[in-house]
Symmetry: C2
Amino acid sequence: MDFFQCLSLEKAGNLIADSLAGIVVTNEIVDLSEALGRVVAEDIMAKEDLPPFCRSTVDGFAVRSADTFGANEGAPALFMISGEVVMGKGAMIKLQPGQAVVIPTGGMLPAGADAVVMLEYTEQHDASTLMVLKMVAPGENLVNKGDDIEAGAIIVMQGQKLAPQHIGALAACGWVFIPVFTRVEVAVLSTGDELVAIHEPLQSGQIRDVNSYALAAMLSEMGCVVKTMGIVKDKFNDFYHALSVALTTCQLVVISGGSSVGARDYTEKAISALGDPGVLIHGIAVKPGKPTIFGMVGSIPIFGLPGHPVAAMTVCQQLVKVAVRTLMGQKQAMSTFGVPAVLTRNLPSVPGRDDFINVRLGKLEGHYTATPILGKSGLISTMSDADGVVHIPAHISGLYHGEIVEVVLT
Amino acid sequence: MDFFQCLSLEKAGNLIADSLAGIVVTNEIVDLSEALGRVVAEDIMAKEDLPPFCRSTVDGFAVRSADTFGANEGAPALFMISGEVVMGKGAMIKLQPGQAVVIPTGGMLPAGADAVVMLEYTEQHDASTLMVLKMVAPGENLVNKGDDIEAGAIIVMQGQKLAPQHIGALAACGWVFIPVFTRVEVAVLSTGDELVAIHEPLQSGQIRDVNSYALAAMLSEMGCVVKTMGIVKDKFNDFYHALSVALTTCQLVVISGGSSVGARDYTEKAISALGDPGVLIHGIAVKPGKPTIFGMVGSIPIFGLPGHPVAAMTVCQQLVKVAVRTLMGQKQAMSTFGVPAVLTRNLPSVPGRDDFINVRLGKLEGHYTATPILGKSGLISTMSDADGVVHIPAHISGLYHGEIVEVVLT
């Protein structure tokens, strides 16, 4: 398979997104305490104003601001203390001119008041007499009803993956039950006659099934429910059977291995035999990751990733994630913010191919450095020792020592 | 409470880390499939070489490299095909001079061979005659036994939080049961007479208990097992009782609210009454977050966070995380890599105080912009609408429009 026959990373990503565009994602309702990391299934609106009443932001005295006009340390304004606002209670008192009411931080502003004087700018001579040493403006030291979130405003948009700050905003607005998209159930299969389960003793010529664990971990970090189906032998019948079971139980299938010529044929044949539209991608111009297969059986996407763990994980991060996000109903941009760092050596690359290089981060004279972890292709240690990945896009023929690159942390 | 009496963020972090330094963290054994996100309790070594044998990295023919000397398209080297390496089987054949053996990618190199010729550089005229069109060097297209990870090398160091690439490396080396530190059990309590549970109807002057949800979500993201204890009334006896229950069931207690003067007194008194060393921090020079309390009862750290959700979450991220990491046995540096962005307006700040400002990220002419979300202090929407946070350190008196700042994504 030649790189010229391979699809570019960008085209592959677009084709995957387009292929999944029509798939209906199902919803469920979860308790807010279970909603972290879930994707919201509809725009969620505030049912009431937040805060629900005008609150003081300081400990002090609620007053009519006009009554403080001209007050300063030399000529304080005099007030009569007419009561106290109790936390968590409605303010029953109505303030009359010249009156002040004790109010704690978060307390409800009494009717008639329009500002709060901080405790620090007052002096109290007896139980009922207050001297205010500083003018306050109308609205000073207050948060008005609805200042934070107005009734009817959207708190969280459909397609947002919920982070702690969104959970907080939903709690503040009294949302107990949250409509979210259901989690994607993904089947993970490894193929290869050389593979043994990790608890088995190794025979000559055998290696352990890394991808069942590494891909499961990566997919579970993305929010999927992972069903590990173990090792399938490189035989068409075994493979066809395993794949048909996976298709009945999951919304996404991720196979790894089978990137040798014969095994790749099995994978492609089994996908085609199980239904239309069949295989859509037969190789991508990505290093590592070239022998990647993508197909669909009905509405279920199937990835055939390379057997090399580093290649399998690279493609999982770059392309399987596109499918997972679409199936999860996630709408925010796929963020790949990187840490800028100075490259410590040249990195040649073939134009027309996207390269992903594992690097270690260092710090030198106040900036970060990115040092590529060299080693033969496919070495797991290049990835487990790395702090992040540098992407050399297809239109570039390499990066130079001293260039500033973006390191996406892993 | 004056900022001058407050501890700096840095000193507070150091004091917390020092206070927890002597605490013994317990271990448990988990299956590799459950180990994602857990912190490794000891250095984990490779018990055997990876790969466990010399493997081909291409589809082709195993040969003695010396036999290809001088070969080119005009003058190919002739070989006799003497067999085939089967995937997952030991290579039984011993290569004689002038012989070549068919080998797939990942196949075990037969004895006598020292290189592999790629299929693309060969021509096969009949079942047993091979022409090699290109010289290969000794070791070419091979990964040697132990090239990736040598037996005895450390795969993952004690204190490492396991990411998918570490799970992969452990699987590759046959580690099935992983020694990890036990998860930190944390009690989360909210205090405040104005608080009601999120499913309750609001009465006048009441607001909802945001922090039980927002802090639980944040602590669960950090890897804690969260026990939400709900709302405790601002009464010393209620508070003392709830805290003593929390101390018997958890390794860390996070209280929020009670930052009004009276409630803060309860918190401090209850901590002191329950045991030594008692309260260690009475306020920090951080905005938002000033009225933060930290203490210890025996070996259990207790945080009293401000009631304002934004302040509570800021301090949780900056200081509670220090305690969580220590109790989890985590040893990597606390990474706060930010995205560099151009600030779109001036941000004044008081020297001697660490400020945290929520910002939205934008993109302009190929670089990121950071736009502060303004609004009165404590508004939840400033946080739920943000992409990240800008930190103005204590030694700086503000940041200027056009300056490049680091935005830590939230």
